[in-house]
Symmetry: C2
Subunit: 619 residues, 2 copies
Amino acid sequence: MFRGVLRVNPHRYQIPRFSAITSSSQRTFVTGKTTAKPKRSRRRKIGYAVGTATLIGTFSYLITQDYLFLQEAKGAHEQVPFLALHPERGGVKNLPVVTHQLDDLAQDEGKPRLVIIGSGWGAVSVLRNLDKDKFNVTIISPNNYFLFTPLLPSVCVGTNEPRSLLEPIRKIAARVRGHFLEAQAIDVDIENKMIEVKSMRLMANDNETEGKAEHFYVPYDQLVLAVGATSITHGVQGLNHTHQLKTVQDAMAIRRKVMENVEKACLPTTTPEQRKQLLSFVVCGGGPTGVEFSAEIFDWINEDLVKWFPKLLREDVSVTIIQSRDHILNQMDVHISEFAESRFKRENINVVTNARVVRIEDNNVVYKYKSNGDNEEDLHSIPYGLCLWSTGIAMTPFVQSLSEKLGIQNHQRVLLTDEFLRVKGVPDMSIFAVGDCATIENPKLIEHIEEIFENSDKNKDGRLNTEEFNDVIAYIKRKFPLTRQHCEKLERAFEKYDLDHSGTIEIQELAKFLRDIDKKVTQLPATAQVASQQGEYLAKYLTNRTNNPFIYKHLGTLAYLGNTAVGEFTWGYKMIGGLYSMYLWRSVYWSEQVSMRTRMNLSLDWTKQALFGRDLSIV
Amino acid sequence: MFRGVLRVNPHRYQIPRFSAITSSSQRTFVTGKTTAKPKRSRRRKIGYAVGTATLIGTFSYLITQDYLFLQEAKGAHEQVPFLALHPERGGVKNLPVVTHQLDDLAQDEGKPRLVIIGSGWGAVSVLRNLDKDKFNVTIISPNNYFLFTPLLPSVCVGTNEPRSLLEPIRKIAARVRGHFLEAQAIDVDIENKMIEVKSMRLMANDNETEGKAEHFYVPYDQLVLAVGATSITHGVQGLNHTHQLKTVQDAMAIRRKVMENVEKACLPTTTPEQRKQLLSFVVCGGGPTGVEFSAEIFDWINEDLVKWFPKLLREDVSVTIIQSRDHILNQMDVHISEFAESRFKRENINVVTNARVVRIEDNNVVYKYKSNGDNEEDLHSIPYGLCLWSTGIAMTPFVQSLSEKLGIQNHQRVLLTDEFLRVKGVPDMSIFAVGDCATIENPKLIEHIEEIFENSDKNKDGRLNTEEFNDVIAYIKRKFPLTRQHCEKLERAFEKYDLDHSGTIEIQELAKFLRDIDKKVTQLPATAQVASQQGEYLAKYLTNRTNNPFIYKHLGTLAYLGNTAVGEFTWGYKMIGGLYSMYLWRSVYWSEQVSMRTRMNLSLDWTKQALFGRDLSIV
């Protein structure tokens, strides 16, 4: 019956659908196409066979899945707590207090409340490493998904689809039976241990958002801040003309813009100057995001644009990276940076180093070389069709207000925590911060010089011999774990700091030693790697599986350069270019995915891109 | 080297990325996790092996592809015609006239210009069936992709991804070396054979759209209108509160709204009444779109919502279909409609028949039963969280202005064409119309009764014997091909129309015969199937491969009902329910795809949905 049904459709690209006309078999309409039929029908049969196999597999699985779920759903209808449906009001502002949740289970009653704000690397890492039954967990975030940020640049041109980078936070939170609230934290009442939260507008069809937002309190016993950061402006005017690349919406907007500009460049009324402008991509910031974005743009141009658009366009495309330092990728080894720069040069990606963006105009990025003055005649201007702003991070308004509320916070860009990731200035130490929104406050060893000296000068002779100097290092490592990495490098430093070759270290010489360490202990970078390790640590710390302070283990760094990649790894190996490096780059990111679904999606995206190219549709 | 590199990362979910800290191997940080390591590393190895295989395949292909393209691109740098870069001005409004295109080839010079407006079923069907080298083809559309409309409802909940339904129009047009302009046709200068076209805003960063749009003329020798239709309002107020489902953006907006409403329903400040409203989906129109949308919503609720959201929500979901006729799916067989209704009843989809929507309020759909009066007390009101409006089609403003310009057009909803799809009222017959924007004007046989009678009454006795009556039918079939299907059913109708049993048909009896045919010849439905057949026909007609008028061959009709489907086919078979029918439904749509890319995407979407469920992320 099945084959009979399929064989009946003699036209290949006509799709049966609804019709007001009654059926009738009509055989009189003869076209000239009869000779072509046998070939077509063979091809169709093969097509159907493949389709059939695929669909039978899919379908059998579906039935099993659905059956299992229905059984499960039947038994799972718990009573919803009365207070979940009708929360009592309270707190300073007399708002509803969410003491119970719609999906609270009886066995979660009385467990300590762990609230996580955010759904990025830090939050997800906590969720994935937390013991299953220790906490009643609530996640609060305006995004109901986790985003795999390192691959965002590839979404800008369609190498990967946005949803291949996303995993619903509800699925990640299911392991610890976490509750998710799609809402935004706007304030913390530290005294009463409650977070003030703002829902998005409630009713479906009101156009005013702000007036309709509902505020409520979520009480916590332990609070994890993992809210990330915004972009730093450096006081540059006109950033509203630029795109950023922090969210999946940013990436989708860039993709639309890139495609729209290319389509506009094809219009007959576009002048040659306008065409050059439309196809000029300017990237402010030579960090990994800017570099990888440039590489993706060039991949797209070389692999797709030339195939499907007028050839003329290829010559009008330009990519410019404006970097304030000596090199792009300046956080990596200088050889890597130089390789990236020479490769970009070959690809006609214009790298402007030692330059500072002065302002963004409607159609021009205005910049100056650092060595030049600030006069108008020293300024350079470059027209753009799309400008990406990716220069660094700054505090979100929520973090900023919290930082101001906690008196002793004095960092401009992040919250300061101690080495256990506890936010400084919180009396009961119940607030933690991970990822881009926080940094661990570095100790200033020099402020502790007397304590260090006295503790190690065992024989009280006012100077340190070799043995006593080793005690100094051991003491510092124990008391200031953040310095540990640097202390290790200095273990044979006795001779170096014995400046007067007296055979002992005097207090002035110790001061130099401590200052040198202080200089070397820098802040941890705002990377996924750091956030992820912090989240894992915190999950252990919260459930008393560790009492040690947090130590960051740098595993390595990678950047994609357009069908090649660069990287450096902890044990000293540097990967510079070569085709295999793109493959390695993809493998590493593939293995770091949080779910099999996103793994499968990524593999399929890469395969599809190779087979069919990127999709050119503007949606 | 490769394996060594990968083995180095001992943490599973930490992603190497950029860091300001210099590398150093740090071994002192010990966690409690060592016992779990052997198992993990085995799993990781398997993961890497799978990844490696996938990536090697992908990668080898990539290299080949890129090499081939680079070779091709090198030789393909043609001279761009001067006039393509600097079009001359002309026409009534003295606008740029696009006589040459950026990607014109020398061999296309002098070929007749075929311009196709639109990128839907009709346009694509013309493109796919056109002879390769007969025309210089230009496609004008605001969308640079073809959309597989029949599967749009499945995008509303994420069963399929939007890009799985899209194929870039440039890839389809490449076969005939067509030029694509992303722009909107706003007027036709029939006398000078030029289309006035409006580009979208030109420069990248201006916020005012309208002022910056550029207008230009595109000259044509033959013009095909395939612009589709908009939704009919039936004069109902408040449609701005509703969603439509005609574009991929519509479907994506609905998906966002559905997910947002569900997330809002989970918030603790949402009252039970608000929750019910947020989860109330009201569908105005019981045609295939409305029915399939309802089915998809229910699939989503039963397969995904219950798994990941508080169980409570399941009971608060409602779907209501408001249909003006006796049955939903009223264009199909009544048994099919009844099956659909009984199935929906079982699934708690509320079907309201014989009802008319009166107005859409902010949060309520107001309707009345047709049998009732128009008083306020006769009105019913149903709260909604999302309302889908899918009740029928109307002319786009462009078609409307063209229709008014052509004097003899008198149809309210579409352009009238003759049986060769030529728009009526165009002096040189150079404008054609296909798909939802047009309909073939039906002949009124009764107006031709004298001609028909005289021509067939061979013996001039003022009445028709059996043989002469057969001549009548043959004559009608020849002269009025649209009636052919109905004439065939009437071939043995002599006795039926010999009302006075005189053994001959008199002129009054012939009049009844002709009127009966006139009644039966209805307009073709606004379906993908019709548009597609018209496009194929037109491609042949334009290249003189046929001189016959267009005849529509109805192949069948399908509708998805939520893990089952219904259908009816030309040769009288009806498919009513059963699990295999969903499978058949998918197979048919799969085989009708315009590219292997979308075929692969659809198969993968279905597989992924079965394996992992739908994505819940709101993007």
